[in-house]
Structure formats: structure tokens, C-alpha cells
């Protein structure tokens, strides 16, 4: 059966991503700035203690969302998890929750496109491959903005975000929703991602024809011993490696 659709993960797959080393130095002040506060607990506390608290609270939300397939509204993520110890008025958090999520996604994490991304997207477009993005993200806007900034947004027919669905990969609903929006068939589709736990397992459970893994800095953070039994159909090291794989599938 001919493969005519490729869905991509965003962070770690289309982009190289890294946690910044010096977040402790700027994050409390930056969050305060976003919230329009001055002299709040965020900056009154010792900077090390404040950052440790933020990290601890974020880890707690991360544990919840990694164990479930639920993406909570950013207003609740920040009120009920990350800033829960900081006595900040609910309305203030709610009014700025998207900005907070955006800061986390773009300033605590640095992003740049992987090498060869436009060449690869051009090559797939020339082959009439339909393309989409599925991303687990706490922000409603960051993925759209990043794709636009990279100049590649027009390649993708759909951009599916966990923040908009309330559900995260690896739940098959996310993959089915993307394919349904594109009116494409899972049995003619491939998924490219950097993790076994979310990308490979999710795409396979959703019935996609092929799964491809490209290693990133987040692969080790996300995958543990429990994912050991799963293997992607292909492992690649460069996005351009996808092109001959798709050609080979479609030739056979």
C-alpha cells in the first residue's frame, strides 16, 4: 500500500531543543514580569529556593501528564501546579497563562530547526506527500509561531496540539484526530518522532503504517525501561534520511 501521509512531532523532531543552563538566574524575575507583579514571593524568596520550588512543582505536573494522557488548560497548570505555592491571585495567573506557557516553551527551552528541514519538506512535497504536525505542548500558540518563524508552516495541512485537544500522545485519539482532519488513512501514514513512549507507541496503537524515530535530547528523558519492548520501524539521524525510506516503501 502506498504511503501518502507523514505526520511529524515538533520539539525534538522538526526542532532541536535544549533546556537552557541558566534558567535559575532569570526565570523568577521573568515570570514576575509576565504576571505584571513586582516584589512578589517569586523574587522575595531566595533565588535558589524559588527555582527549586518551581522545578519541583513542574515535575509534579509532568508526572501527572506523563502517566495520564491529559493536557490540562494552562490556567490550571500554572495555578494548581507550577505557581501553587506563590500566593498569586487566580485572575492574574489566568490573564497571563498563555504568556507563561509561552515563556516556558521558548525561554526555558531553546529551539532551532534541524538541519536539512526545508530540503526534506520540499522533497516530500514534490512526492505529493500530505504532511501534518502533532505536538504535546502546554501552549496554544508556540508551535504555530515557531513554524511560521521558521518559514515552514505552509507545508503542513494540520497542526494538532495537545493543549487544544486536552489529550496528549500517546493516546490514539490524537493521531486519529489529525488524520481525520486531513481526511487521510492511517494505513497509508507514517509518524516521525523522537520518543518511543509518546511517538512510536502512540502511532503504532493508532494503526499507522510505519513509525520512525530520530534521537533528540528529550529521548532519554521520556523513554525508560518500560518502553524497552517497543522498536520503531526505522531509526534515522538526519531528517533527509526520510526521503529514501519513503521511496523504498513506495517502490515495494
Amino acid at each position: 500500500m502506498k504511503l501518502d501521509t507523514v505526520l511529524f512531532d515538533m520539539g525534538g523532531t522538526l526542532e532541536e531543543i535544549k533546556y537552557v543552563a541558566d534558567a535559575q538566574a532569570f526565570l523568577p524575575k521573568r515570570l514576575e514580569q509576565v504576571l505584571g507583579l513586582e516584589g512578589s514571593q517569586l523574587t522575595r524568596m531566595d533565588i535558589h529556593a524559588c527555582y527549586a520550588r518551581l522545578k519541583h512543582n513542574y515535575a509534579s505536573y509532568r508526572a501527572f501528564r506523563e502517566e495520564t494522557c491529559v493536557e490540562v488548560h494552562p490556567a490550571m497548570v500554572w495555578r494548581d501546579w507550577i505557581l501553587k505555592d506563590f500566593t498569586i491571585a487566580d485572575d492574574v495567573i489566568f490573564d497571563h497563562c498563555e504568556e507563561l506557557a509561552h515563556v516556558w516553551e521558548t525561554e526555558v527551552i531553546t529551539r532551532r530547526t534541524r538541519d536539512g528541514i526545508e530540503q526534506m519538506l520540499d522533497a516530500l512535497a514534490r512526492r505529493d506527500i500530505h504532511m501534518g504536525v502533532i505536538s504535546n505542548t502546554g501552549s496554544f500558540t508556540q508551535v504555530h509561531e515557531s513554524l511560521k518563524q521558521y518559514g515552514i508552516k505552509s507545508y503542513f495541512e494540520v497542526i494538532v496540539l495537545s493543549s487544544e485537544l486536552g489529550i496528549r500522545k500517546p493516546h490514539p485519539y490524537v493521531f486519529h484526530h489529525a488524520l481525520k482532519s486531513m481526511q487521510r488513512d492511517a494505513l497509508r501514514s507514517m509518524y516521525v518522532g523522537d520518543t518511543i513512549s509518546r511517538d512510536v507507541i502512540g502511532a503504532r496503537n493508532a494503526g499507522l503504517l510505519k513509525t520512525v524515530q530520530i534521537a533528540s535530547e528529550f529521548t532519554k528523558l521520556s523513554d525508560d525501561a518500560s518502553t524497552g519492548g517497543y522498536r520503531p520501524d526505522y531509526v534515522i539521524h538526519s531528517l533527509m534520511d526520510l526521503v529514501p525510506i519513503i521511496d523504498e516503501i513506495n517502490e515495494t
Binding site: T68, M76, C97, G166
Partner: protein, 226 residues
């Protein structure tokens, strides 16, 4: 400390409810509770029983129990809130949903035909909505795995069912889920068998959701006592 019932039905709005809302509220006041979240059954069978009326009127009919309780609340000094015990047509699972609005229910006449991921998708843009699977290990229910709701009702106090609460609690702990306890109040014998304890009063469903999010096991009422 303030006790709240999280899972209660009324005679006015649930086919299986035996006690009128205002009477239920009085019973809870006498049992030492500060408030009740009424969660009448929101499923096809229950809504069909309201007769051949428009969807909008069905929602009004559905909220009748809550409204009667709300009218009685001031005299009793109680807090009255509402949620729904949702059952979608895909199976017999029940979900306790807190934070929906009357407008949301009225706008989605098709919602019972959704899957639970469809439902979670529909509420993703709403803040302050929490969804728990009610008594996930009771016979006839299928615990969601992977979990796409925020939590499990890990203690259901209804004496006429074995809800296998221990299993629900174990899985909720393993998966870092939010937790809840409720009496599943329909009759006198169910009164105050479950519920939660908050450190401050919750007067709106938004405050309830905020407080429920941080509940620990030690704040759950089980068989009437902590």
C-alpha cells in the same frame, strides 16, 4: 475544616433518586457537612425520562434538583453547587464532571454520542473543569487505560455496590491521578458515607475545582469519617 459531599442525586432530577434535593441538603447539614455538589445522572435513559421536550428544556429539568437545593441553601447556611454524573453512549462508564456551565450543556445536544476523548477535547478550552471517572472498578465499568480524565473517584461510599475502592486507589496512586471520595447519595442509607474536607469554604464551582485539585488522601471522607 469544611466537609463537602461530591456525589449526590436528587429525586427531582435522577430516576433513581429517592430524596428531594432540599431534604437531602438538610440531612447533610445535620450530618455536619458545609455543602453538597449535586451530580444527577446525565445519561440517555435519565434525560429520556423527562419526556418529549426540547434539549434546552431537558437541561432546565435536569437542573431542577440543584435549583431546589440552592433555594433552600440560604436558610440552612449551606453551600450548594452542581456537577454532572455523565454517561456517554459508548459504554456504561460514569464520569463526575465539575465546572461545566448551563450554556455548555444547552449548546451540545449531541454530547451523549461523543466518546470520552471527544468530551475531553470539547472541554479543553475551558478552564476550571475537572473530570473524574466514578467508581471505575465497579462491575460494568471499565477503567480508562490510558487515562484521559483528570482523576478517579477512589472512594465511593454507596453501600449497595462493591466499587472495589482499593483497586481504584492503587491505580490512581500509581498514575499520579487526582482523587476524590463521594457517597453516591440516593437514599438515607447512603448519607455521608463519603465526601471531602477542605480547609476553607467553597462557594462556587470554580473554588471547588481549585480546592479539589489539591486533595490528598487524608482529606477524603470514607464511611463518614476521615
Amino acid at each position: 475544616m469544611y466537609r463537602y459531599e461530591t456525589h449526590a442525586h436528587t429525586k427531582e432530577s435522577s430516576l433513581c433518586g429517592h430524596i428531594a434535593a432540599s431534604e437531602g441538603l438538610r440531612l447533610y447539614r445535620d450530618a455536619g457537612y458545609q455543602g453538597v455538589v449535586f451530580t444527577d445522572h446525565f445519561n440517555q435513559e435519565n434525560l429520556d425520562a423527562y419526556g418529549r421536550i426540547s434539549w434546552e428544556k431537558k437541561i432546565d429539568r435536569y437542573l431542577a434538583g440543584y435549583r431546589n437545593a440552592a433555594a433552600a441553601a440560604e436558610n440552612l447556611g449551606m453551600d450548594v453547587l452542581w456537577g454532572i454524573e455523565l454517561r456517554l453512549s459508548e459504554n456504561d462508564n460514569d464520569y463526575l464532571v465539575y465546572g461545566l456551565t448551563e450554556a455548555f450543556l444547552k449548546a451540545h445536544a449531541e454530547m451523549l454520542s461523543w466518546s470520552i476523548p471527544d468530551f475531553m477535547h470539547a472541554i479543553a478550552c475551558l478552564r476550571d473543569v475537572l473530570v473524574y471517572q466514578a467508581h471505575p472498578y465497579r462491575q460494568g465499568c471499565h477503567p480508562l487505560l490510558p487515562v484521559v480524565v483528570h482523576g478517579f473517584e477512589i472512594y465511593n461510599g454507596n453501600p449497595r455496590h462493591d466499587s472495589h475502592n482499593d483497586r481504584a486507589e492503587r491505580v490512581a496512586n500509581e498514575q499520579h491521578l487526582l482523587i476524590l471520595s463521594g457517597s453516591d447519595f440516593h437514599r438515607h442509607e447512603d448519607l455521608a458515607t463519603g465526601g471531602v474536607v477542605f480547609s476553607k469554604r467553597v462557594k462556587s464551582i470554580s473554588e471547588f475545582v481549585c480546592a479539589a485539585r489539591t486533595l490528598q488522601s487524608t482529606s477524603l471522607i470514607r464511611k463518614g469519617s476521615l
